[in-house]
């Protein structure tokens, strides 16, 4: 009788311990996933910032975003994971700014952040889109 009750206790205790462990790992996984997502988003946004700042120098020098620079910037941003890139609000070659006038470089689009999610007890890699809208202004150093 004594032996039986000990066995029973151990088994039930095991299940409870396992349940606690599973809960722990689940909560930890959710926290870690959120942390990684935010971290990845911050780092990817930083890369996009740096890229846009580089092209702002070209816009300053020319007084507009040339077609070649526009294509190059689009290509760079695509390689960083951006989609649906739009340059609305940017000073383009159709309306160049003379020396001293304010120039604008505006980029909007969606950034695809890779994340892992559990689906039917399988770990799948998916992407979560977040909206990006970056605006930079400076003055034109182009020919007056």
């Amino acid at each position: 009788m004594y032996t039986l009750s000990i066995r029973k206790r151990k088994k039930r205790g095991d299940i409870e311990d396992i349940a606690a462990m599973v809960m722990f790992f689940f909560v930890t996984a959710v926290i870690w996933q959120t942390f990684l997502f935010n971290q990845r988003t911050a780092n990817m946004k930083e890369d996009i910032d740096t890229t846009i700042n580089q092209y702002l120098l070209c816009v300053e020098a020319d007084g507009y975003l040339s077609d070649a620079n526009k294509a190059a910037l689009q290509s760079d941003l695509t390689s960083l994971g951006m989609t649906a890139i739009d340059f609305s609000g940017t000073d383009l070659s159709t309306a160049p700014k003379i020396y001293g006038q304010r120039v604008t470089l505006q980029v909007s689009g969606q950034l695809e952040i890779p994340v892992f999610q559990v689906s039917w007890l399988r770990l799948e890699k998916v992407t979560t889109p977040i909206n990006i809208r970056e605006k930079r202004t400076s003055i034109s150093h182009g020919i007056s």
Partner: protein, 201 residues
């Protein structure tokens, strides 16, 4: 029979302890993750502020071309435009609202322009036009080349723009707490300044 009655009591005690332990572990893990995230975003923000200030300082450098054509001096005569261009560039680069507050939840209280000074060098004379603490009217003083220095102690020999901004990053824990002091997780007060020789652009 007695033994069977004692067993459930022991089991409940064990359960409680293991759940408390799990809860503490989850809490500790969450705290470490939050701290690392906050630290990383703060570092990125400070770097972004530095780059934004550099870009904004250059954005304020509109040389008076008429004066350049007449006297050959590279000076800024439209102070208000220069200051407005600086602020507009800073606002856009740092992703701030019109009132210079931030909606990213990291900066508290907004970004303050402490000082924006245009040093116009013409011959051996330096004219210092200073906007301080977001006041719209500048103070103007004149000195000679060599006697005037920027706030970061650089002697002014060529036309230069100096800009200084400050902001506060919310700490991971509340101000003046023991944890904040030990782990350096208090509010961070950031001051950045930049000096740009405008004759090179």
């Amino acid at each position: 029979m007695k033994k069977q009655q004692l067993i459930p009591f022991k089991k409940k005690k064990g359960e409680f302890t293991s759940f408390i332990l799990m809860f503490l572990l989850v809490f500790a893990f969450m705290a470490v993750s939050l701290f690392l995230y906050k630290r990383n975003t703060s570092l990125i923000l400070v770097k972004k502020a530095e780059e934004s200030l550099k870009a904004a300082t250059l954005a304020g450098a509109t040389i008076d071309m008429d004066e350049y054509g007449t006297t050959g001096a590279l000076v800024i005569n439209d102070y208000a435009k220069s200051y407005a261009d600086f602020k507009e560039s800073l606002k856009n680069s740092m992703g701030l609202n019109d009132d210079f507050t931030s909606s990213d939840g990291i900066i508290s209280g907004g970004v303050h322009v402490n000082r924006y000074t245009i040093y116009n060098v013409s011959g051996s004379t330096v004219e210092c036009i200073t906007y301080e603490n977001d006041v719209g009217t500048p103070s103007i003083i004149t000195g000679s080349v060599g006697s005037i220095k920027t706030p970061n102690n650089i002697p002014v020999t060529k036309s230069t723009i100096y800009g200084s901004v400050s902001f506060q990053i919310d700490g991971f824990v509340k101000n003046k707490s023991m944890m904040g002091k030990i782990f350096n997780m208090d509010d961070i007060f950031v001051t950045k300044d930049c000096c740009a020789d405008i004759t090179q652009y």
